[in-house]
């Protein structure tokens, strides 16, 4: 199947995400204009404001976008997950070019023109409306154009906090190690940036008095109408049970599984899949923006509750459930039936050549290896630092920190020699990788189970029934099979999950490949 056929097959999704993306960018840019234009004017009237306001906008600009999205999640009103938070962040980034260009454009008006205008008895408002805005318009619009195009880029990150848009493809593609899916997001995003750039360039030319006489207002009105239509088309719909997931394949599959299971029980569902990670999902649950997602007991125990590692599977589950209930009114459903511990992975060829079976075996060779780990693994209490201490691991260089999805590719391509993956990952057989046994029992147990808000259980009593019915239905083999279908065969998550629920999936094929 060529890429363009693949692209065409996903046309509806691409279109939907493109509209979402456009909605984010247009809404945030309009909001930034509403705030930034008056601020820019204020700077020309009150020189003392100049340093603090431009300085602040500059500082905002330097915050990495993913970090800003992360910082906004716990905040009330402007925070949380979803489009609103994304728009707040995008506005923050759009402000600087708009404020700066408004200020610079007005400052650049010929002093003789301003002097004559004031001398003839223009009020400040008349000066602004008749002289300064028309003359500064091309510069101001250039600022708006920069803000818009940059916004198209930054909005792709917004998918990490569930705002939708073309970033969904990109994040999904990275976690599936499927560059075709990445391109589904990247190509329309680039196209969108070019189209908006060209459109605003036209408006810029139209408002430039040097280029023409009087059709500037027509162009502005046209753009305003287009913006309005896009905003209306993209306004979010309020729905009932919000299901989330983290940004890797297994979590997305399990989120989709919850969602479809609930839909089949006749419950209204809204999906917010592919969220940034444990931290994002957890904060969203507490903030009431998510009603349920699938978490791992070990992750909750060590990463969320920050407790030292514990290998007793039942105790971990009990402590997690008790603490979640007491602290956040969140309930743990019954375990789904499989564990997903961290899996330390090497290339199968290396394992055979060096006769590696366990992590202790590997520790002897690690001095010549490079490692590549995801962000979470580097930070977590049950992640790399503890592991290195337990096994005396020392690599040739400091581990490269990269996106989880990319570590698999890096290992397969020989860029790194060891990675921390997930035990149920479909990429393990697909890329011919080998999981080193945790012979010193370092990793805590990671049972997968749904976490759900108690308020949602009260709202929809059927929700509890559905979640209970999922208990123990997914074996490790089933999970690997589902992961394999999505990650390696590049099949659509929705279809894979639907087949599984229908009992029509044929998981036999890659079980043979595994051996």
């Amino acid at each position: 199947m060529t890429f363009w056929v693949f692209f065409a097959n996903n046309g509806a999704d691409v279109w939907r995400h493109t509209l979402e993306h456009l909605g984010l960018v247009v809404a945030s840019t309009l909001a930034a204009i509403t705030v930034g234009l008056p601020l820019g004017v204020a700077l020309t009237r009150q020189p003392v404001l100049r340093a603090p306001i431009l300085g602040l906008a500059n500082v905002f600009q330097t915050i990495p976008s993913l970090a800003l999205f992360g910082l906004l999640i716990p905040l009330p009103f402007i925070g949380g997950i979803g489009a609103r938070t994304a728009i707040v962040a995008l506005v923050v980034y759009a402000l600087l070019p708009i404020i700066r260009n408004t200020y610079a454009g007005i400052q650049a008006v010929d002093p003789a023109v301003r002097d004559a205008a004031i001398g003839m008895g223009m009020t400040d408002g008349e000066l602004l409306r008749l002289v300064e805005f028309p003359l500064a318009a091309p510069v101001i619009l250039a600022g708006i154009r920069i803000a818009t195009v940059v916004g198209v880029g930054i909005a792709t990150i917004a998918a990490a906090i569930g705002a939708g848009g073309l970033g969904e493809f990109i994040f999904r593609g990275v976690s599936m190690v499927d560059h075709r899916v990445i391109l589904l997001g990247a190509i329309p995003a680039a196209f969108l940036a070019l189209v908006l750039d060209a459109l605003l360039h036209l408006v810029e030319r139209a408002v430039d008095w040097r280029a023409r006489r009087h059709n500037g207002m027509t162009a502005c009105r046209f753009l305003a109408i287009v913006s309005l239509i896009v905003l209306i088309a993209c306004s979010p719909r309020r729905q009932a049970i919000v299901i989330g997931s983290k940004n890797f394949t297994e979590s997305v599959i399990l989120g989709e599984l919850l969602a479809q299971k609930l839909e089949r029980a006749g419950l209204p569902v809204e999906r917010k899949l592919n969220l940034g990670g444990t931290f994002v999902c957890h904060q969203a649950m507490i903030a009431g923006q998510l009603d349920a997602y699938v978490e791992y007991t070990g992750t909750a125990y060590s990463a969320v509750l920050q407790r030292p590692a514990l290998s007793d599977i039942a105790r971990v589950r009990e402590i997690v459930d008790r603490t979640y209930r007491a602290r956040w009114q969140l309930r743990w459903g019954p375990p789904l039936g499989f564990e997903n511990t961290f899996a330390m992975l090497v290339r199968r060829a290396d394992a055979e050549r060096l006769h590696l079976r366990t992590l202790s075996d590997a520790a002897r060779h690690a001095g010549t290896w490079r490692a590549g780990f995801g962000y979470e693994f580097m930070e977590r209490a049950d992640g790399f630092p503890g592991l290195a201490a337990r096994y005396g691991l020392k690599f040739r260089t400091k581990p490269s920190v990269m996106d989880l999805g990319l570590t698999y590719r890096a290992l397969a391509e020989g860029k790194v020699d060891i990675i921390a993956g997930n035990a149920t990952d479909g990429q393990i057989p697909a890329l011919n990788l080998f999981q080193l046994a945790d012979d010193r029992g370092y990793f805590p147990p990671y049972e997968a189970a749904p976490v759900v808000r108690q308020s949602a259980l009260r709202r929809y009593p059927a929700l509890g029934v559905v979640l209970d019915s999922l208990g123990g239905t997914i074996t490790p083999e089933t999970m690997r099979g589902l992961n394999y279908q999505v990650d390696v065969l590049h099949r659509d998550v929705k279809n894979v999950v639907a087949e599984f629920l229908d009992g029509t999936s044929r998981p036999g094929t890659r079980q043979d490949e595994r051996q």
Binding site: D110, D115, I118, G121
Partner: protein, 242 residues
């Protein structure tokens, strides 16, 4: 109405405690053309800008029509004072017609009256309305731009006209034409004119009286004849330049 149009009473203007102009005591009579003559930096432009409240005196007052500029609404004050500067300051995105009709329009004159006034003024300053009304300022020569500047300053028929070296940037021939026409125009219209220049010949051509500025003070004030015959050193020095 008193016979005085503008009066400086002990007027001083200082920046950061340093006196730039003053103290000045000066009366400008209705319908006279008073020329502020002096070298650059002598305080003549600053004094002019005190009249339409682009600057505010540090001490003393400037009275326009018997009222201190501080008691005027600055917008109202400026709309009854025509203002011309060397760089003209035409709005570059407005056509000639819109530039000339600007103050009448700000004053909310009805559209047809503005149009008639614009046509009248363009003819008055020697620009054929059919040819020029729809041009933008950058499509005009320097002399034509300054003619538009004159028309604009006169548009709302202000009793007072302030001119800050309006013809300073023009070539000699064009300047001579404009000076001659301008002198005839203000004589006919009976405006009170305050005209800033460093050009003695221009002063002699336009003035009914001349005030010579030196170091922020008025070093000489008198008629053209008195200017020609006085032996005051700053005046002698200026006369030497002609």
């Amino acid at each position: 109405m008193p016979d005085l149009a503008i009066e400086f009473c002990g007027t001083r203007f200082a920046v950061n405690g340093r006196t730039i102009v003053g103290p000045l005591d000066l009366t400008i009579r209705r319908s006279e053309t008073l020329v502020f003559l002096g070298r650059s930096g002598s305080g003549k432009t600053t004094s002019l800008r005190l009249i339409n409240r682009l600057l505010v005196p540090t001490s003393g007052t400037v009275q326009v029509d018997g009222r201190s500029t501080l008691d005027w609404d600055p917008v109202r004050l400026r709309r009854r004072i025509g203002y011309m500067i060397q760089d003209v300051g035409l709005l570059p995105h407005f056509t000639v017609a819109r530039n000339v009709g600007l103050v009448p329009r700000l004053e909310r004159w009805p559209g047809d009256r503005v149009g008639a006034r614009v046509t009248e003024l363009l003819e008055l300053v020697g620009l054929a309305p059919a040819d020029f009304a729809h041009r933008l300022p950058h499509e005009l020569s320097g002399g034509q731009r300054q003619r538009v500047g004159v028309a604009r300053a006169l548009a709302a028929d202000p009793p007072i006209l302030l001119c800050d070296e309006p013809f300073g940037a023009l070539d000699t021939a064009t300047r001579a034409d404009l000076q001659r026409e301008f002198a005839a125009l203000i004589a006919r219209l009976g405006k009170t004119v305050v005209f800033v220049t460093h050009d003695v010949r221009e002063a002699l051509m336009l003035a009914s009286r001349i005030a010579v500025f030196h170091d922020g003070r008025i070093a000489f004030l008198g008629s053209v004849e008195e200017f020609a015959s006085t032996d005051r050193p700053p005046v002698v020095a200026l006369r030497g330049l002609t």
